[in-house]
Symmetry: C2
Subunit: 140 residues, 2 copies
């Protein structure tokens, strides 16, 4: 699938050159709360959303469902004041540290991560199970 | 783009029904360190990788570059012992809390997020800039 033309952006070319975008021209943004370290949500940014996040101090994403820029909290008031942005080793994910006003999640909860899944093993059992998993990986 | 056939998986159907997979059949996995809360890396899981993560107690991903299951640390010894897995509100991202043995990043650093980007605004300036950004959003 060809990479679509990027939206013209004022993002610093030196930063843009370090991004590894997906087929939609986006990088993932993991959002963490300043102070508590809580992981609040995951969203997506194109070059221009990253530029706005870095220069306005308000976390700004690309809404895949609405296909438009999304200043977090612009309608709800639950803005995110940007405290720091760090890119990962392969350039396809950002860690955005924010001061969160109100609830991060549109459902009204502090974080979007609320549906706990069952981990059905103990650490002792895990050692044994992993040996099998590692062996099966070789066979793939 | 059609969604590819999913790998046959033993994942609990009640969990599988809550996942919202991307076009490649994957959900994002944000990995956080137990105790410190440090965000270590981002990777991807299909149903079977999630099943193995939940049942073996070792974080297991789908390697997009190698197109195979990847038990984190199987070769490096830098395994991740799974302490908890939480799904987000729209089912397309997982928060995986792990006890990390050794370095999480293949570059040898504690976390993959090491490339700090410049945030070029102050909180005071941000308020003014955001008013403009919110206004321009309406015009999009």
């Amino acid at each position: 699938m060809p990479v679509p033309d990027l939206v013209k952006s004022d993002l610093d070319p030196a930063i843009a050159a370090r991004l590894k975008r997906n087929a939609d021209g986006l990088v993932a943004a993991v959002v963490r709360e300043h102070g508590t370290g809580d992981v609040l949500m995951m969203a997506w940014m194109d070059d221009e959303a990253l530029h706005r996040t870095l220069t306005t101090g308000r976390a700004t994403y690309w809404s895949r469902s609405r296909q438009e820029y999304w200043v977090k909290g612009a309608t709800s008031g639950h803005v995110q004041i940007v405290k720091g942005v760090v890119l990962d080793c392969d350039g396809d994910a950002l860690l955005v540290t924010v001061e969160q006003v109100g609830a991060a999640c549109h459902t009204g909860t502090h974080t979007c991560f609320t549906d706990t899944l069952p981990v059905t093993t103990t650490e002792a059992g895990a050692t044994e199970a992993t040996a099998g998993a590692a062996a099966s990986e070789v066979a793939l």
